[in-house]
Amino acid sequence: MTTIDVSPPPTPTRDSLATRYHTFMSRHASLMPTFAAIAILIAIFIGAQIYFGNFVTPRNISALLLDNAYLLILAVGMTFVIVTGGIDLSVGSVMAFTGIWLAKLLAGGTSALIAIPTIVLGGALIGLLIGVLVQYFDVQPFIASLAGLFLARGLAYVVSLASIKVENEAVLWLQSTRFKLGDWYITPTGILALLVVAVGAFVMQFTRFGRTIYAIGGNENSARLMGLNIARTKVAVYVISGVCAGLAGLVLTAYSGAGYPRNGIGTELDAIAAVVIGGTVLTGGRGYVLGSMVGVFVYGTINTVISFMGAEQSWTRIIVGLLLLVFIVVQRAIVARAERRR
């Protein structure tokens, strides 16, 4: 990428390296937490490979994407919301609601072509409700999305109290099809998740809408004074998060072969944890969709390691909790450093 750069043209001297380092840091300081997450992911891979001897295999890594596809989709939506400085606690419940609703619609004979857009729209509507509450009724995002959480969970129970098995060919195909390349494989759900990541990353980086999200997270009042469209953007991020939750409902239902109203209890917190581990700052303004993907993989890998060790799954929670703590402290340090320089 060529840029106009006032620093002298790079020559292979130590000075130039320092200049390049300085230029890089002044441009991409907010990438550091994401790099840290990548480093941790690699460290876990190396450590697990040494310990188990057969950890980093195409099979395991393919499974990582397959098992965490729904979380990845949720994390993308969550990144949009958190970068504006908000939070969306509803996504776990919305995923459960859309998932069971899909199973019910399919069981009732509705075509997948109609059922899938319907449930995604349902997720979008709950997101819209939260966004409108936040933007126009000045409700704290925490409270507004908590209302969304209860609403969606309630709706899930209204749809069905018991699990509903999915027998629809198209939906099962999403999960059971494996496109193989040697020992590597990917399912349509995995492709969907990666597609969501790609679109999300692209929108946040290269569109005016995406940059407005960062502007709001940086300083909402400034963004307003700059004449940016705050209201539309803020509502839109919750709608996006709702759409992602709807897609995650589809993926989860396909993955487990059934809809279940108790799915995804606490999953919103897993998504938030993954987003934060991936380098997004909870106070907004800094973060990357690709970082959140790394965060999900860190989360998923810890999960796999724990089950390889045959230990209690609660250890996953403990380790993720500790990691989260470390990351929040690191972020705080970075933000504090930035503030000192002002």
């Binding site: 230029t23 002044s26 441009r27 907010s30 005016r208 960062y214 502007a215 004449g227 940016l228 002002r342």
Partner: protein, 508 residues
């Protein structure tokens, strides 16, 4: 008189905050290719008028015309579309995105609907070069100094099709060279026919760059003048005003000189990061030291330096001859130095608590939570102060926030006096309270001094400073230019000191 047609004209502007008018019937005109300054002390209504022009606030009465056509602004966006760009006093930019984005957010160059980052950086580079700034447009704004950020804000404002440029104290964070650079840009914009509103409390800068001045006082229009026809001293007069409603003079004669007393507090060479330079202060026992100076001259900063709120870069503070290191207001308090902030509402009174609780607060904090005062003792203490200071209504259980400004101020005084301080630093104790209450506070200060308390009295109103004080320290640009016995000066002679061109190092 004026051959040209004003580009922007405000007539009869009135804005209410609740029942109070922040500005009332203000007229204001801006001409193309002219730099216009808005002058006035704190609370004169400058910011309110600026907000009305930039669409942040709505006029309750009055009208706004641009190029002779009525202009209705519903939001800052409307103002932007009308060609009115603003650089606010506090930097209103985004530290978390790049310099280029800060300049072009909302109107980025796009290709096929997507942001053309390369083109944006190229244009940003050009705009910044216009301002004499060679920084990497792709770097994050937060990685630069405040001064650079300020220039980026200006770059944003001038990169649009700007017709009216509002600069609200743009120079407060700039050094001399950066100000010169900014003035060069302002002159260039003048050539292009832009109407510029330049607000600064540095008189030198106003006289250097501005063609026209509008003075506001207490939310009212005082007058519009051509800078070259208005003497500095007259400008200061108009800003501060001469209140003819003279009140009864202080009951005691100002003590002549310092009378051989030893100073209670002596400060030498005080220098802080907030702009106080090499200030010497002597406060004598039982005497009032008045502090006079314009807004931005360092009145509050001096109070904060003396009372340990701000960290000293250099200088010493001695109390009764021994060196002190006030690392916090609390440390100062243990030596008997109490500070009452100018921000009564935010840094003083706790509006939700009762009068009783407000008064007892500091004493209780001093004793610590393990030595709780008995409720009866609290009442007794508060009651005595309410009576001594004449707080009305004399109802201890009333919410402090419901009292009038003057009585809130007295409650604050009571709180500090309950600590039995030896030096009281009062920063604008009479701001925003009615005239009768002002006199009461002034008399109270005199009485306290008669009883042996030392006082530093800071006020924007010169008459008041002269009336209350024994000696007056005159501040200019963070430096004490002179300390004079109050009996030997007049408002005019102090004004002359305050307004003199700021070449103080040279003319002393």
């Amino acid at each position: 008189m004026d051959q040209a047609q004003p580009l922007l004209e405000v007539t009869g502007a009135t804005v209410y905050f609740g029942a109070d008018a922040a500005i009332e019937g203000v007229d204001f005109r801006m001409f193309p290719g002219e730099v216009h300054s808005l002058m006035g002390e704190n609370g004169a209504g400058k910011s309110t008028l600026i907000k009305a022009i930039t669409g942040v606030l709505h006029l309750d009465h009055g009208s706004l015309t641009l190029d002779g056509a009525p202009l209705r602004l519903h939001s800052p966006v409307d103002a932007l579309h009308a060609g009115i760009s603003t650089v606010y006093q506090e930097i209103e930019l985004l530290p978390n995105v790049s310099v280029a984005e800060n300049i072009f957010l909302g109107r980025e160059p796009r290709r096929a609907g997507l942001i053309d980052a390369k083109e944006m950086r190229r244009r940003a580079h050009a705009v910044l070069a216009d301002l004499g700034l060679t920084i990497d447009p792709a770097s994050l704004l937060g990685s630069h100094s405040v001064a650079v950020q300020q220039l980026v804000a200006i770059a944003r404002a001038i990169s649009t099709e700007v017709r009216v440029l509002v600069l609200d104290e743009p120079t407060s964070s700039l050094d001399v060279d950066e100000v010169a650079e900014l003035f060069r840009v302002i002159r260039e914009l003048k050539q292009r026919g832009v109407a510029i509103l330049f607000v600064s409390h540095f008189l030198d800068q106003v006289y250097e760059i501005c063609d026209r001045v509008t003075v506001l006082r207490d939310g009212k229009f005082v007058g519009e003048y051509l800078t070259r026809e208005l003497l500095r001293i007259d400008l200061v007069h108009k800003m501060l005003g001469h209140k003819e409603t003279e009140l009864k003079t202080r009951s005691r004669a100002p003590a002549s000189g310092s009378g051989g007393d030893d100073p209670f507090l002596t400060a030498r060479g005080l220098t802080t990061g907030k702009g106080i330079r090499d200030a010497d202060v002597d406060v004598f026992e039982g005497r009032v030291l008045g502090v006079a100076g314009l807004l931005g001259s360092g009145r509050t900063e001096l109070a904060r330096a003396v009372t340990g709120v701000d960290h000293l870069h250099a200088g010493v503070i001695m109390i009764a001859g021994t060196d002190q290191a006030f690392t916090s207001p609390r440390r100062a308090l243990t030596k008997g130095v109490a500070y009452s902030s100018e921000n009564r509402r935010t840094e003083g009174i706790v509006a939700e608590l009762s009068v009783l609780e407000n008064i007892v607060l500091a004493v209780q904090a001093d004793r610590g939570i393990w030595h709780r005062m008995k409720p009866a003792r609290q009442r007794e203490l508060a009651q005595s102060w309410v009576e001594a200071l004449g707080i009305r209504p004399a109802d201890l259980d009333r919410q402090a926030g419901t009292l009038s400004g003057g009585n809130q101020q007295k409650v604050l005084l009571a709180r500090l006096l309950a600590l039995a301080p030896r030096l009281l630093v009062l920063d604008e104790p009479t701001r925003g309270i009615d005239i009768g209450a002002k006199v009461e506070i002034q008399n109270l200060v005199s009485e306290l001094a008669d009883n042996g308390l030392s006082v530093i009295f800071i006020s924007a109103e010169l008459e008041e400073v002269l009336r209350v004080s024994d000696r007056v320290a005159v501040l200019r640009d963070g430096h004490i230019v002179d300390t004079l016995p109050a009996a030997e000066v007049t408002v005019d002679s102090v004004l002359a000191l305050v307004a003199r061109a700021g070449t103080d190092e040279g003319d002393e």
